[in-house]
Symmetry: C2
Subunit: 294 residues, 2 copies
Protein backbone atom coordinates (compact mmCIF):
# COMPACT_ATOMS: atom_id res chain seq x y z
CA UNK A 1 0.00 0.00 0.00
CA UNK A 2 0.99 3.59 -0.50
CA UNK A 3 2.36 5.24 2.63
CA UNK A 4 0.11 8.28 2.34
CA UNK A 5 1.89 10.16 5.10
CA UNK A 6 5.31 9.83 3.45
CA UNK A 7 3.86 10.65 0.04
CA UNK A 8 2.26 13.79 1.45
CA UNK A 9 5.45 14.81 3.22
CA UNK A 10 7.60 14.22 0.13
CA UNK A 11 5.18 16.26 -2.02
CA UNK A 12 5.22 19.06 0.53
CA UNK A 13 9.03 19.10 0.61
CA UNK A 14 9.15 19.15 -3.17
CA UNK A 15 6.78 22.11 -3.19
CA UNK A 16 9.01 23.88 -0.65
CA UNK A 17 12.01 23.20 -2.86
CA UNK A 18 10.22 24.44 -5.97
CA UNK A 19 8.51 27.55 -4.69
CA UNK A 20 10.26 30.12 -2.58
CA UNK A 21 6.96 31.70 -1.49
CA UNK A 22 5.82 30.38 1.85
CA UNK A 23 2.19 30.51 0.74
CA UNK A 24 0.89 27.25 -0.64
CA UNK A 25 -0.63 27.67 -4.11
CA UNK A 26 -4.13 26.30 -4.76
CA UNK A 27 -4.40 22.56 -5.37
CA UNK A 28 -4.67 21.19 -8.92
CA UNK A 29 -6.27 17.82 -8.28
CA UNK A 30 -9.90 18.39 -9.19
CA UNK A 31 -10.38 14.86 -10.28
CA UNK A 32 -13.16 12.43 -9.83
CA UNK A 33 -12.48 9.14 -8.15
CA UNK A 34 -13.98 6.10 -9.89
CA UNK A 35 -17.34 5.37 -8.29
CA UNK A 36 -17.75 8.99 -7.22
CA UNK A 37 -19.51 11.79 -9.02
CA UNK A 38 -18.00 14.45 -6.81
CA UNK A 39 -15.49 16.93 -8.14
CA UNK A 40 -13.67 19.38 -5.92
CA UNK A 41 -12.68 22.48 -7.76
CA UNK A 42 -12.70 26.09 -6.79
CA UNK A 43 -11.68 28.23 -9.77
CA UNK A 44 -12.16 31.38 -7.70
CA UNK A 45 -9.06 30.48 -5.68
CA UNK A 46 -6.97 31.20 -8.75
CA UNK A 47 -8.44 34.63 -9.41
CA UNK A 48 -6.00 36.77 -7.46
CA UNK A 49 -3.05 34.46 -7.76
CA UNK A 50 -0.20 35.67 -9.89
CA UNK A 51 1.75 33.02 -11.76
CA UNK A 52 4.03 31.33 -9.30
CA UNK A 53 7.58 30.84 -10.45
CA UNK A 54 8.56 27.22 -10.00
CA UNK A 55 12.07 25.84 -9.99
CA UNK A 56 12.40 23.21 -12.66
CA UNK A 57 12.23 19.67 -11.38
CA UNK A 58 11.70 16.29 -12.97
CA UNK A 59 10.21 13.61 -10.74
CA UNK A 60 10.99 9.94 -11.37
CA UNK A 61 9.66 7.19 -9.16
CA UNK A 62 10.10 3.45 -9.05
CA UNK A 63 7.34 0.85 -9.04
CA UNK A 64 7.66 -0.11 -5.40
CA UNK A 65 5.21 -2.82 -4.47
CA UNK A 66 3.08 -1.65 -7.41
CA UNK A 67 4.63 -3.51 -10.30
CA UNK A 68 7.47 -5.52 -8.84
CA UNK A 69 5.07 -8.23 -7.80
CA UNK A 70 3.39 -8.40 -11.22
CA UNK A 71 6.69 -8.15 -13.04
CA UNK A 72 8.49 -10.86 -11.09
CA UNK A 73 5.48 -13.19 -11.03
CA UNK A 74 5.46 -13.21 -14.83
CA UNK A 75 9.19 -12.61 -15.51
CA UNK A 76 8.46 -9.56 -17.67
CA UNK A 77 12.07 -8.45 -17.14
CA UNK A 78 13.28 -11.56 -18.99
CA UNK A 79 11.21 -10.88 -22.10
CA UNK A 80 9.51 -13.51 -24.30
CA UNK A 81 6.28 -11.73 -25.12
CA UNK A 82 5.09 -14.76 -27.07
CA UNK A 83 4.34 -16.42 -23.73
CA UNK A 84 0.80 -15.59 -22.61
CA UNK A 85 1.89 -15.18 -19.00
CA UNK A 86 4.58 -12.65 -19.91
CA UNK A 87 2.19 -10.70 -22.10
CA UNK A 88 -0.41 -10.64 -19.33
CA UNK A 89 2.28 -9.66 -16.83
CA UNK A 90 3.30 -6.79 -19.07
CA UNK A 91 -0.29 -5.50 -19.17
CA UNK A 92 -0.73 -6.04 -15.43
CA UNK A 93 2.54 -4.28 -14.61
CA UNK A 94 1.64 -1.27 -16.73
CA UNK A 95 -1.79 -1.01 -15.12
CA UNK A 96 -0.26 -1.22 -11.68
CA UNK A 97 2.51 1.35 -12.19
CA UNK A 98 0.01 3.69 -13.87
CA UNK A 99 -2.19 3.40 -10.79
CA UNK A 100 0.76 4.34 -8.61
CA UNK A 101 1.97 7.22 -10.77
CA UNK A 102 -1.53 8.67 -10.83
CA UNK A 103 -1.60 8.76 -7.03
CA UNK A 104 1.82 10.44 -6.97
CA UNK A 105 0.79 13.01 -9.60
CA UNK A 106 -2.33 13.71 -7.53
CA UNK A 107 -0.37 14.17 -4.34
CA UNK A 108 1.95 16.65 -6.10
CA UNK A 109 -1.01 18.45 -7.69
CA UNK A 110 -2.70 18.81 -4.31
CA UNK A 111 0.40 20.75 -3.22
CA UNK A 112 -0.02 23.04 -6.21
CA UNK A 113 2.82 21.49 -8.21
CA UNK A 114 1.84 21.44 -11.92
CA UNK A 115 2.70 17.78 -12.38
CA UNK A 116 2.05 15.92 -15.61
CA UNK A 117 2.59 12.21 -16.13
CA UNK A 118 4.83 10.99 -18.93
CA UNK A 119 5.04 7.20 -19.06
CA UNK A 120 8.29 5.85 -20.56
CA UNK A 121 6.41 3.10 -22.42
CA UNK A 122 4.14 5.56 -24.18
CA UNK A 123 6.72 8.25 -24.88
CA UNK A 124 9.05 6.13 -26.94
CA UNK A 125 11.49 4.61 -24.45
CA UNK A 126 12.70 1.35 -25.90
CA UNK A 127 15.51 -0.93 -24.79
CA UNK A 128 17.91 -3.31 -26.50
CA UNK A 129 18.96 -6.11 -24.18
CA UNK A 130 17.80 -4.00 -21.23
CA UNK A 131 19.88 -0.94 -22.22
CA UNK A 132 17.97 2.17 -23.27
CA UNK A 133 18.21 2.21 -27.07
CA UNK A 134 15.92 5.16 -27.71
CA UNK A 135 14.06 7.64 -25.57
CA UNK A 136 11.96 10.48 -26.87
CA UNK A 137 12.75 13.32 -24.50
CA UNK A 138 10.96 16.03 -26.50
CA UNK A 139 7.75 15.61 -24.47
CA UNK A 140 9.71 16.00 -21.25
CA UNK A 141 11.57 19.06 -22.55
CA UNK A 142 8.41 20.72 -23.87
CA UNK A 143 6.54 20.03 -20.64
CA UNK A 144 9.33 21.70 -18.64
CA UNK A 145 9.49 24.65 -21.03
CA UNK A 146 5.74 25.10 -20.58
CA UNK A 147 6.18 25.28 -16.80
CA UNK A 148 5.12 21.76 -15.89
CA UNK A 149 6.82 19.20 -13.65
CA UNK A 150 7.13 15.95 -15.61
CA UNK A 151 6.59 12.75 -13.64
CA UNK A 152 8.16 9.58 -15.04
CA UNK A 153 8.34 6.12 -13.54
CA UNK A 154 9.87 2.68 -13.76
CA UNK A 155 7.87 0.91 -16.45
CA UNK A 156 7.45 -2.19 -18.56
CA UNK A 157 8.84 -1.37 -22.01
CA UNK A 158 9.41 -3.08 -25.35
CA UNK A 159 12.89 -4.48 -25.93
CA UNK A 160 14.22 -4.93 -29.47
CA UNK A 161 15.90 -8.24 -28.67
CA UNK A 162 14.04 -9.67 -25.68
CA UNK A 163 10.57 -8.49 -26.69
CA UNK A 164 10.04 -6.68 -23.41
CA UNK A 165 11.71 -5.87 -20.12
CA UNK A 166 11.47 -3.69 -17.05
CA UNK A 167 13.11 -0.26 -17.18
CA UNK A 168 13.97 0.89 -13.69
CA UNK A 169 13.37 4.40 -12.42
CA UNK A 170 17.09 4.66 -11.54
CA UNK A 171 18.14 4.05 -15.14
CA UNK A 172 15.58 6.62 -16.31
CA UNK A 173 17.05 9.17 -13.91
CA UNK A 174 20.60 8.77 -15.17
CA UNK A 175 19.39 8.94 -18.78
CA UNK A 176 17.45 12.13 -18.06
CA UNK A 177 20.38 13.60 -16.14
CA UNK A 178 22.73 13.09 -19.09
CA UNK A 179 20.19 14.84 -21.31
CA UNK A 180 19.00 17.69 -19.12
CA UNK A 181 22.18 18.36 -17.08
CA UNK A 182 20.45 19.24 -13.80
CA UNK A 183 22.25 21.12 -11.01
CA UNK A 184 21.85 18.12 -8.73
CA UNK A 185 19.98 14.84 -8.41
CA UNK A 186 18.28 13.52 -5.26
CA UNK A 187 17.48 9.84 -4.72
CA UNK A 188 14.83 9.47 -2.01
CA UNK A 189 14.90 6.07 -0.31
CA UNK A 190 13.69 4.42 2.89
CA UNK A 191 17.14 4.33 4.52
CA UNK A 192 19.52 7.17 5.31
CA UNK A 193 21.76 6.46 2.35
CA UNK A 194 24.33 3.94 1.22
CA UNK A 195 25.77 1.72 3.95
CA UNK A 196 28.84 -0.52 3.96
CA UNK A 197 26.56 -3.51 4.64
CA UNK A 198 22.80 -4.16 4.98
CA UNK A 199 21.58 -1.27 7.16
CA UNK A 200 19.66 -3.71 9.35
CA UNK A 201 22.97 -5.08 10.62
CA UNK A 202 24.03 -3.52 13.93
CA UNK A 203 27.46 -2.28 12.81
CA UNK A 204 26.37 -0.88 9.46
CA UNK A 205 28.18 2.37 8.64
CA UNK A 206 26.58 5.13 6.57
CA UNK A 207 28.87 6.16 3.71
CA UNK A 208 28.66 9.94 3.70
CA UNK A 209 30.73 10.77 0.67
CA UNK A 210 31.61 8.66 -2.35
CA UNK A 211 33.94 9.94 -5.09
CA UNK A 212 33.61 8.60 -8.60
CA UNK A 213 36.65 8.74 -10.84
CA UNK A 214 36.86 9.20 -14.58
CA UNK A 215 37.03 5.43 -15.20
CA UNK A 216 33.85 4.84 -13.18
CA UNK A 217 35.58 3.32 -10.16
CA UNK A 218 34.56 4.78 -6.84
CA UNK A 219 36.01 5.27 -3.40
CA UNK A 220 34.59 6.21 -0.04
CA UNK A 221 35.98 9.56 1.15
CA UNK A 222 33.91 9.83 4.32
CA UNK A 223 34.07 8.13 6.74
CA UNK A 224 37.54 6.58 6.47
CA UNK A 225 37.04 2.82 6.27
CA UNK A 226 39.36 -0.09 7.06
CA UNK A 227 37.84 -2.74 4.86
CA UNK A 228 36.39 -2.99 1.37
CA UNK A 229 32.66 -2.79 1.03
CA UNK A 230 29.79 -5.22 0.65
CA UNK A 231 26.70 -3.62 -0.80
CA UNK A 232 23.12 -4.06 0.24
CA UNK A 233 20.63 -5.25 -2.36
CA UNK A 234 16.92 -5.42 -1.63
CA UNK A 235 15.64 -8.90 -2.39
CA UNK A 236 12.22 -8.03 -3.79
CA UNK A 237 13.43 -5.66 -6.51
CA UNK A 238 13.42 -7.05 -10.05
CA UNK A 239 15.64 -4.27 -11.32
CA UNK A 240 18.22 -4.26 -8.54
CA UNK A 241 17.91 -2.28 -5.34
CA UNK A 242 20.66 -0.12 -3.91
CA UNK A 243 23.26 -1.54 -6.31
CA UNK A 244 21.45 -0.09 -9.35
CA UNK A 245 21.01 3.17 -7.48
CA UNK A 246 24.72 3.42 -6.74
CA UNK A 247 25.87 2.52 -10.23
CA UNK A 248 23.40 4.95 -11.80
CA UNK A 249 24.40 7.60 -9.24
CA UNK A 250 28.02 7.02 -10.25
CA UNK A 251 27.10 7.51 -13.94
CA UNK A 252 25.48 10.84 -13.05
CA UNK A 253 28.37 11.95 -10.81
CA UNK A 254 30.80 11.30 -13.67
CA UNK A 255 28.96 14.02 -15.60
CA UNK A 256 29.91 16.46 -12.84
CA UNK A 257 26.43 16.40 -11.27
CA UNK A 258 26.22 15.86 -7.49
CA UNK A 259 23.90 13.11 -6.33
CA UNK A 260 22.34 12.95 -2.87
CA UNK A 261 20.97 9.62 -1.63
CA UNK A 262 18.80 10.36 1.39
CA UNK A 263 15.89 9.12 3.46
CA UNK A 264 12.56 10.46 2.18
CA UNK A 265 10.39 12.79 4.28
CA UNK A 266 13.14 13.81 6.71
CA UNK A 267 14.83 17.12 7.42
CA UNK A 268 17.78 15.65 5.51
CA UNK A 269 15.77 15.11 2.34
CA UNK A 270 14.42 18.66 2.54
CA UNK A 271 17.95 20.04 2.67
CA UNK A 272 18.94 17.91 -0.31
CA UNK A 273 15.88 18.90 -2.36
CA UNK A 274 16.23 22.63 -1.76
CA UNK A 275 19.85 22.56 -2.94
CA UNK A 276 21.23 23.58 0.48
CA UNK A 277 23.99 21.02 0.16
CA UNK A 278 25.51 22.42 -2.99
CA UNK A 279 28.11 24.56 -1.23
CA UNK A 280 29.05 22.24 1.58
CA UNK A 281 27.65 19.29 3.47
CA UNK A 282 26.95 20.05 7.14
CA UNK A 283 28.26 17.45 9.59
CA UNK A 284 24.80 16.83 10.99
CA UNK A 285 23.37 15.95 7.57
CA UNK A 286 22.54 12.25 7.21
CA UNK A 287 22.84 10.90 3.72
CA UNK A 288 25.26 9.91 0.99
CA UNK A 289 26.80 12.32 -1.51
CA UNK A 290 28.09 10.81 -4.71
CA UNK A 291 30.25 13.19 -6.71
CA UNK A 292 32.99 13.30 -9.27
CA UNK A 293 36.56 12.99 -7.91
CA UNK A 294 37.72 15.79 -10.25
CA UNK B 1 -19.59 8.31 -12.98
CA UNK B 2 -18.52 5.42 -15.16
CA UNK B 3 -21.40 3.25 -16.34
CA UNK B 4 -19.74 0.01 -15.28
CA UNK B 5 -22.32 -2.16 -16.99
CA UNK B 6 -21.85 -0.48 -20.37
CA UNK B 7 -18.07 -0.51 -19.96
CA UNK B 8 -18.14 -4.22 -19.21
CA UNK B 9 -20.43 -4.94 -22.16
CA UNK B 10 -18.31 -2.88 -24.55
CA UNK B 11 -15.14 -4.64 -23.37
CA UNK B 12 -16.81 -8.01 -23.80
CA UNK B 13 -17.92 -7.16 -27.32
CA UNK B 14 -14.46 -5.94 -28.19
CA UNK B 15 -13.03 -9.23 -26.94
CA UNK B 16 -15.58 -11.12 -29.08
CA UNK B 17 -14.53 -9.04 -32.07
CA UNK B 18 -10.84 -9.61 -31.42
CA UNK B 19 -10.77 -13.31 -30.56
CA UNK B 20 -12.58 -15.90 -32.60
CA UNK B 21 -12.27 -18.51 -29.83
CA UNK B 22 -15.39 -18.67 -27.69
CA UNK B 23 -13.30 -19.32 -24.60
CA UNK B 24 -12.48 -16.21 -22.61
CA UNK B 25 -8.73 -15.85 -22.03
CA UNK B 26 -7.50 -15.25 -18.45
CA UNK B 27 -7.77 -11.70 -17.14
CA UNK B 28 -4.76 -9.37 -17.17
CA UNK B 29 -5.74 -6.89 -14.48
CA UNK B 30 -3.74 -8.03 -11.47
CA UNK B 31 -3.45 -4.58 -10.11
CA UNK B 32 -3.70 -3.20 -6.66
CA UNK B 33 -6.27 -0.56 -5.91
CA UNK B 34 -5.00 2.39 -3.90
CA UNK B 35 -5.74 1.72 -0.24
CA UNK B 36 -5.68 -2.03 -0.79
CA UNK B 37 -2.81 -4.44 -0.39
CA UNK B 38 -4.62 -7.22 -2.19
CA UNK B 39 -3.48 -8.43 -5.59
CA UNK B 40 -5.46 -10.92 -7.62
CA UNK B 41 -3.24 -12.91 -9.90
CA UNK B 42 -3.23 -16.53 -10.85
CA UNK B 43 -0.23 -17.28 -13.08
CA UNK B 44 -1.23 -20.95 -13.23
CA UNK B 45 -4.22 -20.00 -15.40
CA UNK B 46 -1.78 -19.17 -18.17
CA UNK B 47 0.08 -22.46 -18.02
CA UNK B 48 -1.87 -24.44 -20.59
CA UNK B 49 -3.00 -21.50 -22.65
CA UNK B 50 -1.54 -21.24 -26.10
CA UNK B 51 -0.97 -17.75 -27.45
CA UNK B 52 -4.32 -16.39 -28.53
CA UNK B 53 -4.36 -14.70 -31.90
CA UNK B 54 -5.96 -11.29 -31.56
CA UNK B 55 -7.29 -9.15 -34.37
CA UNK B 56 -5.54 -5.82 -34.34
CA UNK B 57 -7.58 -3.04 -32.81
CA UNK B 58 -6.79 0.44 -31.56
CA UNK B 59 -9.12 1.81 -28.90
CA UNK B 60 -9.67 5.56 -28.58
CA UNK B 61 -12.02 7.05 -26.04
CA UNK B 62 -13.17 10.55 -25.22
CA UNK B 63 -13.04 12.22 -21.84
CA UNK B 64 -16.77 12.03 -21.12
CA UNK B 65 -17.61 13.58 -17.80
CA UNK B 66 -13.98 12.95 -16.78
CA UNK B 67 -12.20 15.93 -18.19
CA UNK B 68 -14.86 18.02 -19.87
CA UNK B 69 -15.82 19.59 -16.58
CA UNK B 70 -12.22 20.41 -15.64
CA UNK B 71 -11.40 21.58 -19.14
CA UNK B 72 -14.38 23.89 -19.56
CA UNK B 73 -14.16 25.26 -16.01
CA UNK B 74 -10.65 26.49 -16.75
CA UNK B 75 -10.91 27.07 -20.52
CA UNK B 76 -7.96 24.78 -21.24
CA UNK B 77 -9.17 24.49 -24.85
CA UNK B 78 -8.56 28.22 -25.33
CA UNK B 79 -4.92 28.09 -24.22
CA UNK B 80 -3.07 30.79 -22.24
CA UNK B 81 -0.96 28.61 -19.98
CA UNK B 82 0.43 31.71 -18.29
CA UNK B 83 -2.87 31.98 -16.40
CA UNK B 84 -2.70 29.99 -13.16
CA UNK B 85 -6.27 28.73 -13.60
CA UNK B 86 -5.55 27.38 -17.08
CA UNK B 87 -2.36 25.70 -15.91
CA UNK B 88 -4.19 24.11 -12.98
CA UNK B 89 -7.02 23.08 -15.30
CA UNK B 90 -4.50 21.42 -17.60
CA UNK B 91 -3.09 19.39 -14.70
CA UNK B 92 -6.59 18.58 -13.39
CA UNK B 93 -7.81 17.53 -16.84
CA UNK B 94 -4.85 15.23 -17.38
CA UNK B 95 -5.32 13.62 -13.96
CA UNK B 96 -8.99 13.10 -14.64
CA UNK B 97 -8.64 11.59 -18.12
CA UNK B 98 -5.81 9.36 -16.89
CA UNK B 99 -8.14 8.10 -14.14
CA UNK B 100 -10.75 7.28 -16.77
CA UNK B 101 -8.36 5.63 -19.22
CA UNK B 102 -6.97 3.45 -16.44
CA UNK B 103 -10.46 2.14 -15.67
CA UNK B 104 -11.04 1.43 -19.37
CA UNK B 105 -7.69 -0.33 -19.74
CA UNK B 106 -8.55 -2.41 -16.67
CA UNK B 107 -11.95 -3.36 -18.01
CA UNK B 108 -10.35 -4.49 -21.29
CA UNK B 109 -7.59 -6.36 -19.44
CA UNK B 110 -10.16 -8.19 -17.33
CA UNK B 111 -11.57 -9.56 -20.60
CA UNK B 112 -8.11 -10.79 -21.53
CA UNK B 113 -7.44 -8.03 -24.06
CA UNK B 114 -3.74 -7.04 -23.86
CA UNK B 115 -4.47 -3.34 -23.57
CA UNK B 116 -1.75 -0.76 -23.01
CA UNK B 117 -2.34 2.93 -22.41
CA UNK B 118 -0.67 5.50 -24.66
CA UNK B 119 -1.54 9.06 -23.67
CA UNK B 120 -1.39 11.57 -26.54
CA UNK B 121 0.18 14.22 -24.31
CA UNK B 122 3.06 11.96 -23.32
CA UNK B 123 3.65 10.35 -26.69
CA UNK B 124 4.37 13.53 -28.59
CA UNK B 125 1.02 14.73 -29.89
CA UNK B 126 1.22 18.49 -30.24
CA UNK B 127 -1.17 20.91 -31.92
CA UNK B 128 -0.83 24.24 -33.71
CA UNK B 129 -3.99 26.31 -33.35
CA UNK B 130 -5.86 23.14 -32.36
CA UNK B 131 -4.76 21.19 -35.46
CA UNK B 132 -2.50 18.20 -34.89
CA UNK B 133 0.98 19.44 -35.85
CA UNK B 134 2.94 16.37 -34.80
CA UNK B 135 2.08 12.96 -33.44
CA UNK B 136 4.57 10.26 -32.65
CA UNK B 137 2.86 7.11 -33.82
CA UNK B 138 5.88 4.83 -33.42
CA UNK B 139 4.81 3.76 -29.92
CA UNK B 140 1.36 2.86 -31.24
CA UNK B 141 2.82 0.95 -34.19
CA UNK B 142 5.33 -0.94 -32.05
CA UNK B 143 2.68 -1.79 -29.46
CA UNK B 144 0.46 -3.27 -32.19
CA UNK B 145 3.37 -5.17 -33.75
CA UNK B 146 4.11 -6.65 -30.33
CA UNK B 147 0.54 -7.92 -30.06
CA UNK B 148 -0.90 -5.26 -27.78
CA UNK B 149 -4.07 -3.20 -28.10
CA UNK B 150 -3.15 0.47 -27.73
CA UNK B 151 -5.64 2.62 -25.83
CA UNK B 152 -5.55 6.37 -26.55
CA UNK B 153 -7.85 9.09 -25.33
CA UNK B 154 -8.93 12.69 -25.68
CA UNK B 155 -6.32 14.67 -23.78
CA UNK B 156 -5.01 18.09 -22.81
CA UNK B 157 -1.99 18.78 -25.05
CA UNK B 158 0.52 21.55 -25.67
CA UNK B 159 -0.26 23.89 -28.59
CA UNK B 160 2.54 25.75 -30.37
CA UNK B 161 0.50 28.95 -30.72
CA UNK B 162 -2.10 28.84 -27.94
CA UNK B 163 0.09 27.21 -25.28
CA UNK B 164 -2.34 24.38 -24.74
CA UNK B 165 -5.65 23.00 -25.90
CA UNK B 166 -7.90 19.95 -25.78
CA UNK B 167 -7.39 17.28 -28.42
CA UNK B 168 -10.59 15.31 -28.91
CA UNK B 169 -10.72 11.54 -29.23
CA UNK B 170 -12.52 11.95 -32.57
CA UNK B 171 -9.62 13.91 -34.07
CA UNK B 172 -7.18 11.31 -32.75
CA UNK B 173 -9.19 8.56 -34.46
CA UNK B 174 -9.10 10.22 -37.86
CA UNK B 175 -5.38 10.91 -37.50
CA UNK B 176 -4.71 7.29 -36.57
CA UNK B 177 -6.95 6.05 -39.39
CA UNK B 178 -4.99 8.04 -41.97
CA UNK B 179 -1.79 6.53 -40.61
CA UNK B 180 -2.77 2.93 -39.98
CA UNK B 181 -5.39 2.45 -42.76
CA UNK B 182 -7.72 0.16 -40.80
CA UNK B 183 -10.35 -2.01 -42.51
CA UNK B 184 -13.10 -0.11 -40.73
CA UNK B 185 -13.70 2.35 -37.90
CA UNK B 186 -16.46 2.12 -35.29
CA UNK B 187 -17.67 5.12 -33.27
CA UNK B 188 -19.53 3.93 -30.17
CA UNK B 189 -21.98 6.53 -28.83
CA UNK B 190 -25.00 6.71 -26.55
CA UNK B 191 -27.49 7.10 -29.40
CA UNK B 192 -28.21 4.83 -32.37
CA UNK B 193 -26.25 6.97 -34.78
CA UNK B 194 -26.57 10.30 -36.60
CA UNK B 195 -30.05 11.78 -36.71
CA UNK B 196 -31.47 14.57 -38.84
CA UNK B 197 -32.22 16.55 -35.64
CA UNK B 198 -31.63 16.09 -31.89
CA UNK B 199 -32.59 12.44 -31.24
CA UNK B 200 -34.68 13.46 -28.25
CA UNK B 201 -37.14 15.13 -30.63
CA UNK B 202 -40.10 12.89 -31.46
CA UNK B 203 -39.73 12.97 -35.26
CA UNK B 204 -35.97 12.51 -35.38
CA UNK B 205 -34.92 10.27 -38.25
CA UNK B 206 -31.85 8.02 -38.05
CA UNK B 207 -29.59 8.57 -41.05
CA UNK B 208 -28.57 5.07 -42.05
CA UNK B 209 -26.11 5.79 -44.83
CA UNK B 210 -24.10 8.90 -45.58
CA UNK B 211 -21.88 9.19 -48.66
CA UNK B 212 -18.87 11.46 -48.62
CA UNK B 213 -17.61 12.80 -51.92
CA UNK B 214 -14.07 13.62 -52.99
CA UNK B 215 -14.48 17.31 -52.06
CA UNK B 216 -15.64 16.43 -48.55
CA UNK B 217 -19.30 17.27 -49.08
CA UNK B 218 -21.72 14.61 -47.98
CA UNK B 219 -25.20 13.42 -48.79
CA UNK B 220 -27.69 11.12 -47.10
CA UNK B 221 -28.33 8.02 -49.23
CA UNK B 222 -30.64 6.23 -46.77
CA UNK B 223 -33.34 7.07 -45.91
CA UNK B 224 -34.47 9.41 -48.71
CA UNK B 225 -35.10 12.79 -47.10
CA UNK B 226 -37.22 15.76 -48.17
CA UNK B 227 -35.39 18.52 -46.32
CA UNK B 228 -31.85 19.53 -45.59
CA UNK B 229 -30.39 18.56 -42.26
CA UNK B 230 -29.83 20.15 -38.91
CA UNK B 231 -27.24 18.37 -36.81
CA UNK B 232 -27.32 17.58 -33.15
CA UNK B 233 -24.52 18.88 -30.96
CA UNK B 234 -24.18 17.91 -27.33
CA UNK B 235 -23.97 21.02 -25.18
CA UNK B 236 -21.50 19.84 -22.55
CA UNK B 237 -18.72 18.85 -24.95
CA UNK B 238 -15.77 21.25 -25.16
CA UNK B 239 -14.52 19.67 -28.35
CA UNK B 240 -17.82 19.40 -30.21
CA UNK B 241 -20.24 16.51 -29.93
CA UNK B 242 -21.78 14.77 -32.89
CA UNK B 243 -20.65 17.46 -35.32
CA UNK B 244 -16.96 16.68 -34.69
CA UNK B 245 -17.75 12.98 -34.96
CA UNK B 246 -19.42 13.44 -38.34
CA UNK B 247 -16.73 15.65 -39.79
CA UNK B 248 -13.97 13.32 -38.59
CA UNK B 249 -15.95 10.33 -39.86
CA UNK B 250 -16.17 12.07 -43.24
CA UNK B 251 -12.38 12.57 -43.26
CA UNK B 252 -11.93 8.85 -42.63
CA UNK B 253 -14.54 7.83 -45.23
CA UNK B 254 -12.73 9.93 -47.83
CA UNK B 255 -9.75 7.62 -47.38
CA UNK B 256 -11.94 4.73 -48.49
CA UNK B 257 -12.46 3.42 -44.95
CA UNK B 258 -16.02 2.65 -43.84
CA UNK B 259 -17.14 4.22 -40.57
CA UNK B 260 -19.95 2.88 -38.40
CA UNK B 261 -21.55 5.18 -35.84
CA UNK B 262 -23.56 3.01 -33.48
CA UNK B 263 -24.98 2.77 -29.97
CA UNK B 264 -22.54 1.13 -27.56
CA UNK B 265 -23.29 -2.19 -25.87
CA UNK B 266 -26.05 -3.25 -28.27
CA UNK B 267 -26.36 -6.09 -30.77
CA UNK B 268 -25.78 -3.40 -33.42
CA UNK B 269 -22.41 -2.38 -31.99
CA UNK B 270 -21.34 -6.04 -31.82
CA UNK B 271 -22.10 -6.47 -35.52
CA UNK B 272 -20.14 -3.32 -36.33
CA UNK B 273 -17.14 -4.32 -34.21
CA UNK B 274 -16.88 -7.85 -35.61
CA UNK B 275 -16.81 -6.52 -39.15
CA UNK B 276 -20.10 -8.21 -40.11
CA UNK B 277 -21.23 -5.08 -41.93
CA UNK B 278 -18.36 -4.98 -44.38
CA UNK B 279 -20.18 -6.87 -47.13
CA UNK B 280 -23.63 -5.42 -46.71
CA UNK B 281 -25.74 -3.67 -44.14
CA UNK B 282 -28.75 -5.70 -43.01
CA UNK B 283 -32.05 -3.80 -42.94
CA UNK B 284 -32.51 -4.51 -39.24
CA UNK B 285 -29.17 -2.96 -38.30
CA UNK B 286 -29.53 0.33 -36.43
CA UNK B 287 -26.72 2.76 -36.94
CA UNK B 288 -25.12 5.13 -39.42
CA UNK B 289 -22.63 4.09 -42.07
CA UNK B 290 -20.39 6.84 -43.43
CA UNK B 291 -18.55 5.83 -46.57
CA UNK B 292 -16.91 7.22 -49.66
CA UNK B 293 -19.23 7.94 -52.60
CA UNK B 294 -16.69 6.45 -55.00
Amino acid sequence: MINEETLHKVSEQLRQAMITSSEKPPGMDWSKRPGSSEICCNPEEFGDHSVVDFSRFIVVHGAGSFGHFQASKSSVHKGQLNKPLVKAGFVATRISVTTLTLEIIRALAREGIPSVGISPFSCGWFTRERQVSSADLSSVAKAIDSGFTPVLHGDAVLDEILGCTILSGDVIISHLAAYSKPEYVVFLTDVHGVYDRPPTEPDAILLKEIAVSEDGSWSVLKPKLQNSIELTVAAHDTTGGMQTKISEAAMIAKLGIDVYIVKAATSHSLRALTGDLRRDIPDDWLGTVVRSSR
